[in-house]
Protein backbone atom coordinates (compact mmCIF):
# COMPACT_ATOMS: atom_id res chain seq x y z
CA UNK A 1 0.00 0.00 0.00
CA UNK A 2 2.67 2.47 0.99
CA UNK A 3 4.43 1.35 -2.20
CA UNK A 4 1.52 2.40 -4.37
CA UNK A 5 1.03 5.56 -2.41
CA UNK A 6 4.66 6.55 -2.98
CA UNK A 7 4.56 5.55 -6.63
CA UNK A 8 1.44 7.53 -7.39
CA UNK A 9 2.80 10.56 -5.61
CA UNK A 10 5.93 10.13 -7.69
CA UNK A 11 3.92 10.01 -10.91
CA UNK A 12 2.01 13.11 -9.93
CA UNK A 13 5.22 14.92 -9.15
CA UNK A 14 6.86 13.85 -12.40
CA UNK A 15 3.89 15.03 -14.42
CA UNK A 16 3.99 18.36 -12.68
CA UNK A 17 7.70 18.83 -13.02
CA UNK A 18 8.34 17.55 -16.52
CA UNK A 19 5.07 18.50 -18.14
CA UNK A 20 6.94 20.05 -21.05
CA UNK A 21 8.51 16.89 -22.28
CA UNK A 22 5.51 14.83 -21.17
CA UNK A 23 3.34 16.97 -23.40
CA UNK A 24 5.84 16.51 -26.21
CA UNK A 25 5.65 12.75 -25.88
CA UNK A 26 1.88 12.89 -25.69
CA UNK A 27 1.79 14.99 -28.84
CA UNK A 28 4.11 12.56 -30.58
CA UNK A 29 1.99 9.58 -29.63
CA UNK A 30 -1.18 11.36 -30.69
CA UNK A 31 0.31 12.31 -34.03
CA UNK A 32 1.61 8.82 -34.58
CA UNK A 33 -1.69 7.15 -33.80
CA UNK A 34 -3.46 9.68 -35.98
CA UNK A 35 -1.13 8.99 -38.89
CA UNK A 36 -1.30 5.26 -38.50
CA UNK A 37 -5.07 5.16 -38.11
CA UNK A 38 -5.47 7.51 -41.04
CA UNK A 39 -3.62 5.19 -43.36
CA UNK A 40 -5.33 2.16 -41.96
CA UNK A 41 -8.67 3.83 -42.56
CA UNK A 42 -7.78 4.60 -46.16
CA UNK A 43 -6.51 1.11 -46.68
CA UNK A 44 -9.58 -0.56 -45.26
CA UNK A 45 -11.84 1.69 -47.31
CA UNK A 46 -9.85 1.03 -50.46
CA UNK A 47 -11.07 -2.54 -50.36
CA UNK A 48 -14.58 -1.12 -50.74
CA UNK A 49 -13.51 1.01 -53.68
CA UNK A 50 -12.39 -2.15 -55.41
CA UNK A 51 -15.83 -3.66 -54.95
CA UNK A 52 -17.58 -0.60 -56.18
CA UNK A 53 -15.43 -0.29 -59.23
CA UNK A 54 -15.88 -3.96 -60.05
CA UNK A 55 -19.64 -3.66 -59.75
CA UNK A 56 -20.31 -2.94 -63.36
CA UNK A 57 -17.69 -5.24 -64.78
CA UNK A 58 -19.39 -7.61 -67.23
CA UNK A 59 -17.82 -9.66 -69.97
CA UNK A 60 -19.89 -10.11 -73.11
CA UNK A 61 -19.10 -13.17 -75.19
CA UNK A 62 -20.47 -12.90 -78.71
CA UNK A 63 -21.47 -16.22 -80.17
CA UNK A 64 -21.78 -17.49 -83.75
CA UNK A 65 -24.98 -19.34 -83.14
CA UNK A 66 -27.70 -19.15 -80.58
CA UNK A 67 -26.99 -22.00 -78.13
CA UNK A 68 -29.71 -24.50 -77.31
CA UNK A 69 -30.59 -25.29 -73.68
CA UNK A 70 -28.15 -28.21 -73.61
CA UNK A 71 -25.30 -26.22 -75.03
CA UNK A 72 -26.16 -23.43 -72.61
CA UNK A 73 -25.74 -25.90 -69.77
CA UNK A 74 -22.39 -26.99 -71.15
CA UNK A 75 -21.17 -23.42 -71.60
CA UNK A 76 -22.30 -22.50 -68.13
CA UNK A 77 -20.32 -25.43 -66.75
CA UNK A 78 -17.24 -24.54 -68.72
CA UNK A 79 -17.35 -20.96 -67.60
CA UNK A 80 -17.75 -21.97 -64.00
CA UNK A 81 -14.81 -24.30 -64.38
CA UNK A 82 -12.53 -21.29 -64.66
CA UNK A 83 -13.88 -19.50 -61.65
CA UNK A 84 -16.97 -18.92 -59.64
CA UNK A 85 -19.03 -16.17 -61.22
CA UNK A 86 -21.71 -13.88 -59.98
CA UNK A 87 -24.14 -14.59 -62.81
CA UNK A 88 -24.35 -15.82 -66.38
CA UNK A 89 -27.05 -14.62 -68.72
CA UNK A 90 -27.72 -15.75 -72.24
CA UNK A 91 -28.84 -13.01 -74.58
CA UNK A 92 -30.58 -14.29 -77.68
CA UNK A 93 -30.67 -12.46 -81.00
CA UNK A 94 -34.14 -11.20 -80.19
CA UNK A 95 -33.06 -9.87 -76.78
CA UNK A 96 -30.14 -8.09 -78.38
CA UNK A 97 -32.46 -6.54 -80.98
CA UNK A 98 -34.80 -5.31 -78.28
CA UNK A 99 -31.98 -3.73 -76.35
CA UNK A 100 -30.66 -2.02 -79.42
CA UNK A 101 -34.09 -0.75 -80.24
CA UNK A 102 -34.39 0.59 -76.75
CA UNK A 103 -31.09 2.35 -77.04
CA UNK A 104 -32.19 4.02 -80.25
CA UNK A 105 -35.15 5.42 -78.38
CA UNK A 106 -37.24 7.66 -80.59
CA UNK A 107 -35.45 6.49 -83.65
CA UNK A 108 -36.44 2.87 -83.20
CA UNK A 109 -38.76 3.27 -86.12
CA UNK A 110 -35.80 2.83 -88.44
CA UNK A 111 -35.48 -0.77 -87.33
CA UNK A 112 -39.01 -1.65 -88.32
CA UNK A 113 -38.02 -2.97 -91.68
CA UNK A 114 -35.07 -4.99 -90.39
CA UNK A 115 -35.00 -8.66 -89.62
CA UNK A 116 -35.11 -9.14 -85.86
CA UNK A 117 -32.04 -11.35 -85.86
CA UNK A 118 -29.42 -9.16 -87.42
CA UNK A 119 -27.54 -8.79 -84.09
CA UNK A 120 -25.43 -11.67 -82.79
CA UNK A 121 -26.39 -13.67 -79.70
CA UNK A 122 -24.17 -13.36 -76.64
CA UNK A 123 -23.48 -14.47 -73.07
CA UNK A 124 -23.22 -11.85 -70.33
CA UNK A 125 -20.83 -12.97 -67.59
CA UNK A 126 -20.63 -10.97 -64.39
CA UNK A 127 -17.58 -12.17 -62.48
CA UNK A 128 -17.32 -12.37 -58.72
CA UNK A 129 -16.17 -9.21 -56.97
CA UNK A 130 -13.11 -11.01 -55.78
CA UNK A 131 -11.81 -10.99 -59.32
CA UNK A 132 -9.97 -7.81 -58.72
CA UNK A 133 -6.78 -7.80 -60.70
CA UNK A 134 -6.63 -6.75 -64.28
CA UNK A 135 -4.61 -9.80 -65.22
CA UNK A 136 -7.28 -12.09 -63.90
CA UNK A 137 -9.90 -10.31 -65.95
CA UNK A 138 -7.71 -10.63 -69.01
CA UNK A 139 -7.10 -14.29 -68.38
CA UNK A 140 -10.77 -14.85 -67.92
CA UNK A 141 -11.52 -13.01 -71.12
CA UNK A 142 -9.07 -15.04 -73.17
CA UNK A 143 -10.46 -18.20 -71.59
CA UNK A 144 -13.94 -17.19 -72.65
CA UNK A 145 -12.66 -16.38 -76.14
CA UNK A 146 -11.70 -20.01 -76.56
CA UNK A 147 -15.15 -21.33 -75.79
CA UNK A 148 -16.70 -23.23 -78.65
CA UNK A 149 -18.66 -20.84 -80.86
CA UNK A 150 -17.34 -17.62 -79.27
CA UNK A 151 -16.44 -14.95 -81.83
CA UNK A 152 -15.39 -12.02 -79.64
CA UNK A 153 -15.22 -11.02 -75.98
CA UNK A 154 -15.96 -7.49 -74.88
CA UNK A 155 -15.70 -5.92 -71.44
CA UNK A 156 -15.09 -2.23 -72.04
CA UNK A 157 -11.38 -3.05 -72.02
CA UNK A 158 -10.18 0.48 -72.06
CA UNK A 159 -12.09 1.76 -69.07
CA UNK A 160 -11.61 -1.34 -67.03
CA UNK A 161 -7.92 -1.31 -67.68
CA UNK A 162 -7.67 2.28 -66.72
CA UNK A 163 -9.57 1.71 -63.55
CA UNK A 164 -7.57 -1.24 -62.43
CA UNK A 165 -4.34 0.51 -63.15
CA UNK A 166 -5.51 3.47 -61.21
CA UNK A 167 -6.48 1.42 -58.20
CA UNK A 168 -3.20 -0.35 -58.33
CA UNK A 169 -1.32 2.90 -58.46
CA UNK A 170 -3.25 4.20 -55.52
CA UNK A 171 -2.51 1.12 -53.49
CA UNK A 172 1.19 1.53 -54.20
CA UNK A 173 1.03 5.12 -53.12
CA UNK A 174 -0.89 4.30 -49.99
CA UNK A 175 1.45 1.45 -49.16
CA UNK A 176 4.57 3.55 -49.68
CA UNK A 177 3.28 6.52 -47.74
CA UNK A 178 2.16 4.16 -45.04
CA UNK A 179 5.58 2.56 -44.77
CA UNK A 180 7.33 5.92 -44.75
CA UNK A 181 4.99 7.24 -42.12
CA UNK A 182 5.11 4.26 -39.88
CA UNK A 183 8.89 4.32 -40.01
CA UNK A 184 8.84 7.99 -39.11
CA UNK A 185 6.36 7.37 -36.35
CA UNK A 186 8.26 4.54 -34.73
CA UNK A 187 11.43 6.55 -34.95
CA UNK A 188 9.76 9.54 -33.38
CA UNK A 189 8.15 7.76 -30.48
CA UNK A 190 11.30 5.80 -29.72
CA UNK A 191 13.45 8.92 -29.91
CA UNK A 192 11.11 11.00 -27.78
CA UNK A 193 10.85 8.38 -25.07
CA UNK A 194 14.59 7.87 -25.15
CA UNK A 195 15.22 11.56 -24.73
CA UNK A 196 12.67 11.97 -21.98
CA UNK A 197 14.40 9.24 -20.02
CA UNK A 198 17.86 10.52 -20.87
CA UNK A 199 16.85 13.90 -19.52
CA UNK A 200 16.10 12.30 -16.18
CA UNK A 201 19.08 9.96 -16.04
CA UNK A 202 20.62 11.90 -13.17
CA UNK A 203 17.54 11.30 -11.13
CA UNK A 204 17.41 7.61 -12.00
CA UNK A 205 21.05 7.18 -11.08
CA UNK A 206 20.58 8.97 -7.79
CA UNK A 207 17.57 6.86 -6.94
CA UNK A 208 19.66 3.75 -7.46
CA UNK A 209 22.38 5.12 -5.26
CA UNK A 210 20.10 5.89 -2.34
CA UNK A 211 18.77 2.36 -2.52
CA UNK A 212 15.55 2.51 -4.47
CA UNK A 213 14.48 -0.90 -5.69
CA UNK A 214 14.08 -1.43 -9.40
CA UNK A 215 10.32 -1.54 -9.03
CA UNK A 216 10.32 1.74 -7.18
CA UNK A 217 12.15 3.35 -10.09
CA UNK A 218 10.36 1.65 -12.93
CA UNK A 219 6.76 1.64 -11.86
CA UNK A 220 6.28 5.41 -12.24
CA UNK A 221 7.71 5.25 -15.75
CA UNK A 222 5.52 2.31 -16.51
CA UNK A 223 2.45 4.18 -15.33
CA UNK A 224 3.45 7.29 -17.24
CA UNK A 225 3.87 5.24 -20.39
CA UNK A 226 0.46 3.72 -19.79
CA UNK A 227 -1.14 7.09 -19.26
CA UNK A 228 0.51 8.52 -22.33
CA UNK A 229 -0.54 5.56 -24.41
CA UNK A 230 -4.16 5.83 -23.29
CA UNK A 231 -4.42 9.58 -23.72
CA UNK A 232 -2.35 9.75 -26.88
CA UNK A 233 -4.19 7.04 -28.76
CA UNK A 234 -7.58 8.28 -27.60
CA UNK A 235 -6.77 11.78 -28.77
CA UNK A 236 -5.39 10.38 -32.02
CA UNK A 237 -8.48 8.34 -32.81
CA UNK A 238 -10.74 11.17 -31.69
CA UNK A 239 -9.06 13.71 -33.93
CA UNK A 240 -9.19 11.29 -36.84
CA UNK A 241 -12.90 10.91 -36.21
CA UNK A 242 -13.39 14.66 -36.18
CA UNK A 243 -11.38 14.94 -39.39
CA UNK A 244 -13.49 12.20 -40.90
CA UNK A 245 -16.72 13.88 -39.97
CA UNK A 246 -15.48 17.15 -41.35
CA UNK A 247 -14.59 15.57 -44.69
CA UNK A 248 -17.91 13.82 -44.87
CA UNK A 249 -19.84 16.98 -44.22
CA UNK A 250 -17.68 19.11 -46.40
CA UNK A 251 -17.23 16.90 -49.43
CA UNK A 252 -20.44 14.91 -49.63
CA UNK A 253 -21.51 16.61 -52.86
CA UNK A 254 -24.30 14.95 -54.84
CA UNK A 255 -23.48 11.32 -55.36
CA UNK A 256 -19.91 11.68 -54.35
CA UNK A 257 -19.47 9.94 -51.07
CA UNK A 258 -22.62 7.94 -51.60
CA UNK A 259 -20.70 6.20 -54.27
CA UNK A 260 -17.52 5.47 -52.38
CA UNK A 261 -19.21 4.88 -49.12
CA UNK A 262 -16.60 5.79 -46.53
CA UNK A 263 -17.01 4.24 -43.15
CA UNK A 264 -15.15 4.85 -39.92
CA UNK A 265 -13.65 2.09 -37.80
CA UNK A 266 -16.08 0.05 -35.83
CA UNK A 267 -15.82 0.67 -32.06
CA UNK A 268 -14.03 -2.62 -31.60
CA UNK A 269 -11.36 -1.76 -34.16
CA UNK A 270 -10.89 1.64 -32.53
CA UNK A 271 -10.52 -0.07 -29.20
CA UNK A 272 -8.01 -2.50 -30.65
CA UNK A 273 -5.92 0.38 -32.03
CA UNK A 274 -5.97 2.08 -28.64
CA UNK A 275 -5.01 -1.13 -26.88
CA UNK A 276 -2.13 -1.83 -29.23
CA UNK A 277 -0.71 1.67 -28.89
CA UNK A 278 -1.04 1.58 -25.12
CA UNK A 279 0.84 -1.70 -25.15
CA UNK A 280 3.53 -0.33 -27.42
CA UNK A 281 3.97 2.84 -25.38
CA UNK A 282 4.20 1.00 -22.13
CA UNK A 283 6.59 -1.57 -23.48
CA UNK A 284 8.61 1.13 -25.16
CA UNK A 285 9.11 3.26 -22.08
CA UNK A 286 9.61 0.20 -19.90
CA UNK A 287 12.26 -1.32 -22.11
CA UNK A 288 14.10 1.95 -22.79
CA UNK A 289 14.31 2.54 -19.09
CA UNK A 290 15.34 -1.02 -18.49
CA UNK A 291 18.26 -0.46 -20.82
CA UNK A 292 19.27 2.81 -19.18
CA UNK A 293 19.00 1.43 -15.70
CA UNK A 294 21.76 -1.08 -16.24
CA UNK A 295 24.31 1.42 -15.09
Amino acid sequence: MSFWFTVIRQVGRNLRQTWGSQLMTLFTVTLSVLIFAFFYLIYSNMLHFGDKLGDDLRLIVYLEEEPGPELQQQLRKKIEQFDQVESIRFVSRIDAYERFAEQLGDNRGVLDDMPKDFLPPSIEVIPLKTLSSLNQVKLFSSYLRKLAGATKVQYGQEWVERFYNFTRLISIIVALSGILLIMTTIFMVAYTIRLTILGRQDELELLKLVGATNNYIRTPFFLEGLLQGVLGSTFGIASLYILFQWIQNHFSGPGFLNMFEFSFFSPSVSLAIICVSVLLCTLGSYSTMHKFLRI
Binding site: T6, L206, L207, L209, V210, G211, A212
Partner: protein, 276 residues
Protein backbone atom coordinates in the same frame (compact mmCIF):
# COMPACT_ATOMS: atom_id res chain seq x y z
CA UNK B 1 33.43 4.18 21.68
CA UNK B 2 31.90 0.94 22.81
CA UNK B 3 30.58 -1.92 20.77
CA UNK B 4 26.84 -2.07 20.32
CA UNK B 5 26.09 -4.73 22.89
CA UNK B 6 27.89 -2.82 25.63
CA UNK B 7 25.84 0.33 25.28
CA UNK B 8 24.05 1.44 28.47
CA UNK B 9 20.42 0.54 27.85
CA UNK B 10 18.97 3.68 29.32
CA UNK B 11 21.17 6.09 27.37
CA UNK B 12 19.27 8.96 25.82
CA UNK B 13 19.69 9.16 22.08
CA UNK B 14 20.07 12.63 20.58
CA UNK B 15 16.79 13.82 19.16
CA UNK B 16 18.10 14.34 15.66
CA UNK B 17 18.44 10.60 15.07
CA UNK B 18 15.52 8.22 15.15
CA UNK B 19 15.20 6.59 18.51
CA UNK B 20 14.99 3.15 17.00
CA UNK B 21 18.19 3.36 14.93
CA UNK B 22 19.88 1.14 17.42
CA UNK B 23 17.19 -1.50 17.39
CA UNK B 24 16.83 -1.46 13.64
CA UNK B 25 20.52 -2.03 13.44
CA UNK B 26 20.42 -5.05 15.72
CA UNK B 27 17.45 -6.57 13.99
CA UNK B 28 18.97 -6.21 10.57
CA UNK B 29 22.37 -7.61 11.24
CA UNK B 30 22.11 -10.09 14.06
CA UNK B 31 21.31 -13.01 11.78
CA UNK B 32 24.56 -12.44 9.96
CA UNK B 33 26.71 -12.37 13.02
CA UNK B 34 27.01 -16.10 13.36
CA UNK B 35 28.29 -16.57 9.86
CA UNK B 36 30.59 -13.68 10.38
CA UNK B 37 32.09 -15.03 13.58
CA UNK B 38 32.97 -18.24 11.84
CA UNK B 39 34.56 -16.73 8.76
CA UNK B 40 36.46 -14.11 10.64
CA UNK B 41 38.80 -16.70 12.05
CA UNK B 42 40.58 -17.00 8.73
CA UNK B 43 41.11 -13.33 8.27
CA UNK B 44 44.18 -11.22 8.76
CA UNK B 45 42.91 -8.72 11.29
CA UNK B 46 41.67 -11.02 13.97
CA UNK B 47 43.17 -8.97 16.73
CA UNK B 48 40.11 -6.86 17.42
CA UNK B 49 37.14 -8.57 18.94
CA UNK B 50 34.34 -6.19 17.85
CA UNK B 51 31.92 -6.70 15.03
CA UNK B 52 33.55 -5.45 11.85
CA UNK B 53 31.12 -3.39 9.83
CA UNK B 54 33.43 -2.95 6.85
CA UNK B 55 36.04 -5.54 6.05
CA UNK B 56 38.34 -5.01 3.08
CA UNK B 57 40.88 -7.65 2.19
CA UNK B 58 43.52 -6.93 -0.41
CA UNK B 59 41.21 -4.74 -2.43
CA UNK B 60 42.49 -3.24 -5.69
CA UNK B 61 40.77 -1.08 -8.22
CA UNK B 62 42.16 -0.45 -11.67
CA UNK B 63 40.65 1.84 -14.26
CA UNK B 64 41.16 1.28 -17.97
CA UNK B 65 44.54 2.20 -19.37
CA UNK B 66 46.95 1.96 -16.48
CA UNK B 67 45.22 3.83 -13.70
CA UNK B 68 45.80 2.17 -10.35
CA UNK B 69 43.29 3.85 -8.07
CA UNK B 70 43.61 1.39 -5.18
CA UNK B 71 46.28 -1.27 -4.57
CA UNK B 72 46.00 -4.09 -2.05
CA UNK B 73 44.11 -2.16 0.58
CA UNK B 74 43.17 -4.18 3.65
CA UNK B 75 41.29 -2.58 6.49
CA UNK B 76 38.64 -3.50 9.00
CA UNK B 77 36.30 -0.87 10.36
CA UNK B 78 34.27 -1.76 13.42
CA UNK B 79 30.61 -1.21 13.95
CA UNK B 80 30.04 2.18 15.48
CA UNK B 81 33.50 3.45 14.65
CA UNK B 82 34.32 6.90 13.27
CA UNK B 83 37.06 6.48 10.73
CA UNK B 84 39.03 9.03 8.73
CA UNK B 85 40.62 8.51 5.35
CA UNK B 86 43.15 11.10 4.30
CA UNK B 87 45.60 11.40 1.46
CA UNK B 88 46.76 13.61 -1.34
CA UNK B 89 44.43 14.54 -4.16
CA UNK B 90 44.15 11.50 -6.39
CA UNK B 91 45.27 9.10 -3.66
CA UNK B 92 42.14 6.96 -3.95
CA UNK B 93 39.88 8.14 -1.12
CA UNK B 94 36.80 8.52 -3.23
CA UNK B 95 37.46 5.24 -4.97
CA UNK B 96 37.55 3.46 -1.64
CA UNK B 97 34.22 4.94 -0.60
CA UNK B 98 32.70 4.01 -3.94
CA UNK B 99 33.76 0.42 -3.43
CA UNK B 100 32.33 0.31 0.09
CA UNK B 101 28.98 1.71 -1.04
CA UNK B 102 29.13 -0.82 -3.92
CA UNK B 103 28.76 1.92 -6.51
CA UNK B 104 31.66 0.18 -8.20
CA UNK B 105 33.05 -3.33 -7.97
CA UNK B 106 36.66 -4.01 -6.96
CA UNK B 107 39.01 -5.36 -9.61
CA UNK B 108 40.55 -7.66 -7.02
CA UNK B 109 39.97 -8.56 -3.40
CA UNK B 110 37.03 -8.99 -1.08
CA UNK B 111 34.76 -6.43 0.54
CA UNK B 112 32.34 -7.45 3.25
CA UNK B 113 29.71 -5.17 4.73
CA UNK B 114 28.38 -6.51 8.04
CA UNK B 115 29.82 -9.88 7.15
CA UNK B 116 28.31 -10.14 3.69
CA UNK B 117 30.46 -9.97 0.57
CA UNK B 118 29.11 -7.12 -1.56
CA UNK B 119 30.15 -8.59 -4.87
CA UNK B 120 27.35 -11.13 -4.72
CA UNK B 121 24.57 -8.71 -3.86
CA UNK B 122 22.03 -7.92 -6.53
CA UNK B 123 18.61 -6.45 -7.13
CA UNK B 124 16.45 -5.96 -4.06
CA UNK B 125 19.17 -7.05 -1.62
CA UNK B 126 21.59 -4.51 -3.01
CA UNK B 127 18.90 -1.85 -2.82
CA UNK B 128 18.21 -2.75 0.83
CA UNK B 129 21.89 -2.49 1.61
CA UNK B 130 22.13 0.91 0.02
CA UNK B 131 19.13 2.14 1.98
CA UNK B 132 21.15 1.47 5.11
CA UNK B 133 24.21 3.31 3.81
CA UNK B 134 24.08 7.08 3.65
CA UNK B 135 26.57 8.58 1.23
CA UNK B 136 27.47 12.24 0.79
CA UNK B 137 29.25 12.32 -2.55
CA UNK B 138 32.08 14.66 -3.28
CA UNK B 139 30.14 16.09 -6.23
CA UNK B 140 26.93 16.10 -4.18
CA UNK B 141 24.73 14.50 -6.87
CA UNK B 142 21.86 16.80 -6.00
CA UNK B 143 18.91 17.18 -8.33
CA UNK B 144 19.39 20.79 -9.33
CA UNK B 145 15.74 21.40 -10.20
CA UNK B 146 14.30 20.14 -6.91
CA UNK B 147 14.11 22.04 -3.67
CA UNK B 148 16.51 21.37 -0.82
CA UNK B 149 13.69 19.70 1.11
CA UNK B 150 12.82 17.40 -1.78
CA UNK B 151 16.44 16.40 -2.20
CA UNK B 152 16.75 15.45 1.43
CA UNK B 153 13.43 13.62 1.37
CA UNK B 154 14.49 11.30 -1.47
CA UNK B 155 16.59 9.05 0.72
CA UNK B 156 13.65 8.55 3.09
CA UNK B 157 11.06 8.09 0.39
CA UNK B 158 12.82 5.08 -1.08
CA UNK B 159 12.29 3.25 2.16
CA UNK B 160 8.64 4.27 2.30
CA UNK B 161 8.74 6.54 5.31
CA UNK B 162 5.51 8.32 6.11
CA UNK B 163 5.20 11.87 4.68
CA UNK B 164 4.70 13.52 8.06
CA UNK B 165 7.81 11.80 9.44
CA UNK B 166 9.77 12.87 6.39
CA UNK B 167 8.61 16.45 6.71
CA UNK B 168 9.54 16.59 10.36
CA UNK B 169 12.99 15.09 9.85
CA UNK B 170 13.77 17.40 6.92
CA UNK B 171 12.91 20.45 8.95
CA UNK B 172 15.03 19.21 11.85
CA UNK B 173 18.05 18.60 9.65
CA UNK B 174 17.79 21.91 7.83
CA UNK B 175 17.68 23.68 11.13
CA UNK B 176 20.71 21.87 12.48
CA UNK B 177 22.66 22.74 9.33
CA UNK B 178 21.65 26.41 9.41
CA UNK B 179 19.59 26.14 6.24
CA UNK B 180 16.12 26.83 7.60
CA UNK B 181 15.44 29.62 5.13
CA UNK B 182 16.54 27.50 2.17
CA UNK B 183 13.80 24.87 2.70
CA UNK B 184 11.99 25.63 -0.54
CA UNK B 185 14.89 26.89 -2.68
CA UNK B 186 15.88 24.69 -5.61
CA UNK B 187 19.36 23.38 -4.99
CA UNK B 188 20.66 24.74 -8.29
CA UNK B 189 20.30 28.22 -6.78
CA UNK B 190 22.07 27.48 -3.53
CA UNK B 191 25.63 28.48 -2.80
CA UNK B 192 28.16 25.70 -3.04
CA UNK B 193 28.53 25.36 0.71
CA UNK B 194 24.77 25.20 1.15
CA UNK B 195 24.62 22.45 -1.46
CA UNK B 196 27.27 20.55 0.42
CA UNK B 197 25.21 20.66 3.56
CA UNK B 198 22.09 19.52 1.73
CA UNK B 199 24.04 16.56 0.37
CA UNK B 200 25.14 15.72 3.90
CA UNK B 201 21.63 16.06 5.22
CA UNK B 202 20.40 13.63 2.59
CA UNK B 203 23.08 11.15 3.59
CA UNK B 204 22.05 11.04 7.23
CA UNK B 205 18.33 11.66 6.85
CA UNK B 206 17.29 8.03 6.74
CA UNK B 207 19.25 7.23 9.94
CA UNK B 208 21.50 4.79 8.14
CA UNK B 209 23.66 2.32 10.01
CA UNK B 210 26.66 3.36 7.96
CA UNK B 211 27.49 6.85 6.74
CA UNK B 212 30.15 7.58 4.13
CA UNK B 213 31.10 11.22 3.71
CA UNK B 214 33.49 12.40 1.05
CA UNK B 215 35.15 15.74 1.75
CA UNK B 216 32.20 17.06 3.80
CA UNK B 217 33.73 20.45 4.53
CA UNK B 218 35.51 21.34 1.30
CA UNK B 219 33.29 24.37 0.76
CA UNK B 220 32.61 25.27 4.36
CA UNK B 221 34.07 27.87 6.69
CA UNK B 222 35.33 26.96 10.13
CA UNK B 223 32.08 27.67 11.99
CA UNK B 224 29.92 25.67 9.63
CA UNK B 225 32.49 22.89 9.60
CA UNK B 226 32.08 22.55 13.33
CA UNK B 227 28.32 22.41 13.01
CA UNK B 228 28.62 19.64 10.46
CA UNK B 229 31.09 17.67 12.52
CA UNK B 230 28.88 17.94 15.58
CA UNK B 231 26.04 16.48 13.65
CA UNK B 232 28.20 13.61 12.45
CA UNK B 233 29.47 12.94 15.95
CA UNK B 234 25.88 12.79 17.20
CA UNK B 235 25.00 10.24 14.56
CA UNK B 236 28.08 8.28 15.50
CA UNK B 237 27.09 8.30 19.16
CA UNK B 238 23.71 6.87 18.33
CA UNK B 239 25.37 3.86 16.72
CA UNK B 240 26.17 4.68 13.11
CA UNK B 241 29.47 3.66 11.60
CA UNK B 242 30.97 6.69 9.88
CA UNK B 243 33.77 6.90 7.35
CA UNK B 244 34.99 10.38 6.43
CA UNK B 245 37.36 11.06 3.56
CA UNK B 246 38.91 14.46 3.97
CA UNK B 247 41.94 16.66 3.52
CA UNK B 248 40.96 19.09 6.27
CA UNK B 249 43.44 18.68 9.13
CA UNK B 250 41.29 20.53 11.63
CA UNK B 251 38.63 17.87 11.73
CA UNK B 252 40.87 14.86 12.36
CA UNK B 253 44.02 16.21 14.00
CA UNK B 254 42.98 16.09 17.62
CA UNK B 255 40.32 13.45 17.38
CA UNK B 256 40.58 10.16 19.22
CA UNK B 257 39.62 8.22 16.10
CA UNK B 258 41.64 6.17 13.67
CA UNK B 259 43.04 7.89 10.61
CA UNK B 260 44.18 6.00 7.54
CA UNK B 261 46.42 7.72 5.06
CA UNK B 262 46.39 6.60 1.47
CA UNK B 263 49.26 7.24 -0.90
CA UNK B 264 49.07 6.39 -4.57
CA UNK B 265 46.25 3.97 -3.86
CA UNK B 266 48.02 2.04 -1.09
CA UNK B 267 47.72 2.31 2.69
CA UNK B 268 50.54 4.56 3.86
CA UNK B 269 49.80 4.71 7.56
CA UNK B 270 47.06 3.88 10.04
CA UNK B 271 47.23 5.90 13.23
CA UNK B 272 45.17 6.93 16.22
CA UNK B 273 42.29 4.96 17.67
CA UNK B 274 42.81 5.77 21.34
CA UNK B 275 39.34 4.85 22.45
CA UNK B 276 39.25 1.45 20.84
Amino acid sequence: MTALGAKPPGMLLPDHCDEDTHNIYRRRFCNQELHHNVTRMNKKSVSRQQEAMIEMIKVSKYYPVNVVALQDVSVSISTGELFFIIGKSGAGKTTLLKLVSSMELPSNGLIEIAGKPTSKLKGVKLARLRQRIGVAYQDFKLLADRTAAENIAISMEVSYKKPQIIRKRVRELLEQLDLTDKHGTITGELSRGEQQRVALARAIANSPTMILVDEPTGNLDAATTERVMNLLHKCNKSGATIVIATHDETIYKNSPHRVMELKHGAVHSLTGGLLI
